[in-house]
């Protein structure tokens, strides 16, 4: 039995490591906010969404497969959440019953039996949902899933399970000796042949009592657990077999919960974005060269989730392998850069994007190179750290990749920073890599304007005449100014003379 909701013919590999360099992507694109919204407070969903979002698909076919499943989910969110709920409940049963007691052989046995009983009940629920909603869905992924539940979990199978579970209960009393530990609790349990025997003198009450007894009430589960822990030392070899059967069923629920969990996460995000009035759309993905990217009202999802004031951008970068964004500080440059990276990743995991419409070429991998705080591990100075990161990227990047630079190579003076940037970008473009570059270094931006205007799109974060910034980018060539002096005076300075 398989879930197969993320690929038509295989499981999603949740055990695979996240792609190399994912920390940079998450941090630079502020994917944390998006992933938190997908998780909606659920740590498990956070883990699932992170893995699926970062493991980009490269073929438009599978992207479409997921988009159709997701479209089904958006159309019938309640049913999908119900099925997911069964898988979650099954895994929660597992946490409650499994795990901590597994150090005790007697508990392994009784927990394994109890676990199997609970799992079988969940399997029945799943079958019930499949019977009820088999005809509801259109996507290949969901229709196949429900059909296989009906076929593989038939009534005969449930009867077989019930019979086995009854036989797996352990019975018997166990006598043992013990000593007192440092805290007076029992220690040094040794199995003995029989219980206490009272002498006839004791029985008729003329010798001191040497035997005491009590019984725990039938509903005292903690007490039963304690007794089970004590007896386990005597039955250390008895209990192993039932556990493995339980594990097989659990692994099915685990995969179902994880794969379906991704779509539930998408629903969570969808709810958040649409409730706040942000546009969402399934993007068109294309594999063909030349580079495509055309969007309307593309928004930074992380910003959209955090604040109401979000301005989207309409951009047509079809055929452009280099996009340079310049202009005012606080002008929305980083925001735009992030929105491009986010949309690319969201598209390539089969999700919708935060835009009214978007069409983009599938890329092999997305890279980011953003200005960073001083390396907290203190290995190096800032420029050195940036160049180290660039060199690591160079080891992994190749044709058909996308890289986003944000104020890179600015940790030195403008002349040298521009020169490093020029050399790096030139080499990347010649290797067939698409480059987005936010910079305030006029020298850098201007040289591409002079030399590669045809393949380059220049966007600028404008400043209004009254000094206010808008956050919508316009197509415009770079300008040789910055605004430090303005800001100094606007915030009131700190020297009496400059007031």
């Amino acid at each position: 039995m398989k879930a197969h909701l993320l690929h038509p013919d295989q499981d999603f590999d949740f055990s695979a490591d996240l792609p190399a360099g994912h920390e940079d992507l998450v941090q630079d694109l502020e994917l944390g906010t998006v992933l938190q919204a997908m998780a909606a407070g659920d740590k498990f969903l956070l883990g699932v969404s992170t893995k699926v979002l970062l493991a980009s698909l490269n073929d438009p076919g599978t992207i479409g497969y997921r988009q159709r499943v997701l479209a089904d989910c958006i159309a019938q969110p309640d049913i999908v959440r119900q099925i997911y709920g069964v898988a979650v409940a099954a895994m929660q049963d597992r946490r409650g019953l499994w795990g901590y007691s597994s150090q005790y052989p007697s508990s392994i046995l009784s927990a394994a039996v109890t676990q199997l009983e609970a799992l079988v009940a969940r399997l029945r629920e799943l079958r019930g949902l499949a019977d009820e909603h088999a005809g509801t869905f259109q996507s290949d992924g969901l229709t196949t899933l429900l059909r296989s539940l009906q076929r593989d979990l038939d009534d005969d199978y449930f009867e077989t399970l019930r019979r086995h579970l009854r036989q797996l209960r352990f019975r018997g009393g166990v006598p043992m000796s013990a000593r007192l530990d440092r805290d007076n609790s029992g220690i040094g349990y040794v199995l003995r042949a029989s219980g206490a025997r009272r002498t006839w003198k004791e029985r008729i009450g003329i010798a001191p009592r040497t035997v005491y007894s009590f019984s725990i009430p039938p509903r005292d589960e903690a007490g039963a657990q304690a007794l089970s822990n004590m007896t386990s030392r005597a039955i250390n070899l008895v209990a192993n077999a039932a556990a493995q059967s339980a594990d097989h069923v659990i692994s099915y629920f685990s995969m179902l919960r994880a794969e379906l969990g991704f779509y539930v996460s998408c629903l969570n995000l969808h709810d958040r974005l649409t409730a706040a009035g942000h546009p969402v759309a399934f993007p068109g993905s294309s594999a063909a060269e030349p580079w495509e990217l055309r969007c309307e009202d593309l928004r930074d999802a992380s910003l959209a989730l955090r604040t109401g004031r979000v301005v989207g951008n309409d951009v047509d970068a079809d055929g452009k392998s280099l996009v340079i964004i310049t202009g005012a500080n606080s002008g929305g440059k980083s925001t735009f850069l992030r929105s491009v990276g986010q949309a690319q990743l969201m598209m390539q995991c089969g999700m919708f994007v935060t835009a009214r419409s978007l069409r983009s070429s599938v890329c092999r991998q997305v890279f980011t190179h953003f200005i960073r705080e001083e390396d907290p591990a203190m290995v190096s100075g800032r420029l050195d750290e940036e160049l180290t990161r660039m060199s690591v990227i160079a080891d992994r990047i190749g044709p058909r990749c996308l890289i986003l630079f944000n104020e890179s190579f600015a940790a030195t003076n403008e002349r040298e920073g521009s020169e490093i940037g020029r050399q790096v970008v030139r080499a990347l473009l010649e290797a067939g890599i698409r480059v987005f570059f936010v910079t305030h270094q006029f020298d850098f931006a201007d040289s591409f304007h002079r030399q590669r205007a045809q393949e380059t799109l220049f966007l600028r974060a404008p400043r209004q005449p009254d000094g206010q910034r808008t956050y919508r980018l316009t197509v415009a060539e770079p300008l040789p100014t910055s605004y430090g002096e303005d800001i100094y005076h606007r915030i009131g300075g700190w020297l009496a003379e400059s007031a």
């Binding site: 440092r182 009430p217 606080s330 705080e373 100075g381 420029l383 990347l428």
Partner: protein, 524 residues
């Protein structure tokens, strides 16, 4: 504190605190207050590494984050540190703290225990460890010389305490109760919900019989499924009921135990417990710097000035970085600085990755750690007891705040400069990098003008060479490279004029990301 009752008792000298001469020594409990500059200076790394997962984490962190404004308190702590540099005394102190920790762990668990017999056993165990801890500490502290005000006062107190009749009684009672309990063996039979408890009458080990019975099936070695049980504090109510029945079977032993617990309810002496807590501040810091000393790095007790700003440090270093490098077996480069009137500001320029940031951090750490009463990195130092420390280091762009980065920088710098007094220290590292050179020059000049006007002690790291010749209050220092190999750094920051070379392209070359190299790497 409990007063010993018997006639032979003598007056035990008072003990106030190991942290300061006054009785108000114990600075803090609760959440440590972290200064705003802690992360810029990597002070948080130092503090977290020192306090680590120690039980007194918050006390240690609180003391390390707190700058004392009283020079006598700083001397008081220096004295204790000096005493503890004796390895024998240090070891004795460490052992004592570990034992006291075990005592506290036990005592803290008592209220949660529902069974009286269980609680009594655990209480007895705590007392047994306590007796051993106090005696062992006394032996250790007597065998080694002490000279600090703090430890002399405590030694006098401890001598008196150990000689008291109260302690002698505690030790004797504890030993008898332990012997009693160790002799008990009993039997339990569990059959479903039914439990039977009796005296053990010496029947043979039944497991051995079972093993014997089934041994004929044995084919060869199989996987070992035996579970290893850990002893954990805590007892189920069933365990407690069994224990109650055991107590009825062994009534004499358990009534003696109950009596013991009543008579020695408050065995832990408050002054000794306090000493133990405060001692951990010293032990934690010394444990942190010991590997660095072994690697050849010096720590000194700095002279603290309250008025003169003619400060210096020799062979000093960034403590957080040094701890990391030493851990990896790498060498640490040390630096010197000195300021003579009217010098107040060190402008640090020069090649990147040359140790400029490290130098700035070291300067800030020195002033902070000195004011916490700790030995500081360096072979010798004179440092200014400042009222506040301000730092401004390049930050990551934070989108949660829609204000742009430059504006954000300027607002923060403005806040610091307006809050600073003539007794403050300011450290600025590579600010204004996200703007143009002319902006950085203009704004840097404004900053230095204000710093000079306020007479602040300041380190200013910049790539704008012009700022190094700002005026007579400014000293120029620069990171340096190996002559003949511009890509290799010495990590030495020395007094010299800014020379205008940034070496950025040599650095790109070193990382193989120049155009030619990158082209070769991307198009194989």
């Amino acid at each position: 504190m409990a007063i010993p009752q018997t006639a032979s008792s003598r007056v035990i000298p008072a003990f106030a605190s190991l942290l300061s001469p006054g009785p108000a020594g114990l600075a803090t409990t609760g959440e440590p207050e972290k200064p705003a500059y802690a992360s810029d200076l990597n002070l948080d790394q130092i503090v977290e590494a020192v306090a680590a997962d120690r039980e007194q984490h918050d006390l240690i962190a609180g003391l390390l984050y707190h700058r004392v404004q009283d020079r006598d308190v700083i001397s008081f702590r220096h004295e204790v540190f000096r005493d503890l540099e004796d390895p024998g005394l240090l070891e004795a102190a460490g052992r004592f703290c570990e034992q006291m920790r075990q005592v506290r762990v036990r005592l803290s668990q008592l209220p949660k225990m529902e069974s009286d017999r269980h609680r009594e056993g655990w209480f007895l165990d705590a007392a047994a460890i306590y007796c051993d801890a106090v005696r062992t500490l006394s032996a250790g502290i007597t065998a080694h010389p002490v000279a600090s005000r703090g430890l002399l006062a405590f030694r006098a107190y401890l001598d008196g305490y150990l000689a008291s009749a109260g302690f002698a009684q505690l030790a004797a009672d504890t030993a008898s109760r332990k012997d009693d309990l160790a002799r008990i063996t009993y039997k339990v039979r569990i059959d479903g919900p039914h439990v039977e408890v009796s005296r053990h009458d010496g029947e043979p080990d039944y497991s051995a019989e079972i093993e014997n019975t089934f041994s004929r099936f044995r084919q060869g070695e199989v996987k070992d499924y035996r579970v290893h049980y850990r002893t954990e504090p805590g007892m189920s109510h069933v365990g407690a009921r069994i224990l109650d029945l055991v107590a009825r079977l062994f009534a004499d032993e358990f009534s003696a135990l109950a009596d013991y617990c009543r008579r020695h309810a408050d065995f832990a002496d408050p002054a000794i417990s306090q000493f133990d807590r405060e001692l951990q501040f010293y032990l934690a810091y010394l444990a942190y710097i010991t590997p660095l000393r072994k690697a050849g790095l010096g720590f000194c007790y700095p002279e603290i000035t309250g008025d003169s700003k003619e400060i210096f440090a020799r062979h000093t270093f960034d403590l957080a970085l040094a701890a990391k490098l030493t851990g990896e077996g790498s060498t640490v480069v040390t630096n010197e600085f000195h300021l003579d009137n009217p010098e107040r500001v060190i402008v640090v320029s020069g090649p990147n990755q040359g140790g400029k940031t490290t130098f700035a951090r070291a300067f800030g750490q020195l002033h902070h750690l000195a004011a916490a009463g700790c030995p500081v990195p360096g072979s010798a130092a004179r440092l200014f007891l400042c009222d506040r420390i301000f730092t401004h280091f390049e930050r990551e762009e934070d989108l949660a705040d829609l204000t742009g980065k430059l504006e954000d920088d300027l607002i923060r710098i403005r806040g610091a400069l307006l809050a600073a007094t003539a007794s403050s220290v300011v450290i600025m590292n590579e600010i204004f990098t996200s703007t143009t050179v002319s902006d950085a020059r203009f704004l840097g000049g404004k900053v230095l003008a204000k710093v000079t006007e306020l007479d602040l002690l300041c380190v200013y790291v910049t790539f704008v060479d012009e700022l190094a010749t700002f005026g007579p209050s400014v000293v120029s220092m620069a990171s340096t490279v190996v002559p003949g190999n511009p890509a290799e750094r010495t990590f030495k920051v020395v007094r010299k004029p800014a020379d205008g070379l940034a070496y950025a392209l040599a650095l790109a070359d070193k990382h193989r990301v120049s155009y030619e190299q990158l082209r070769g790497r991307l198009l194989p």
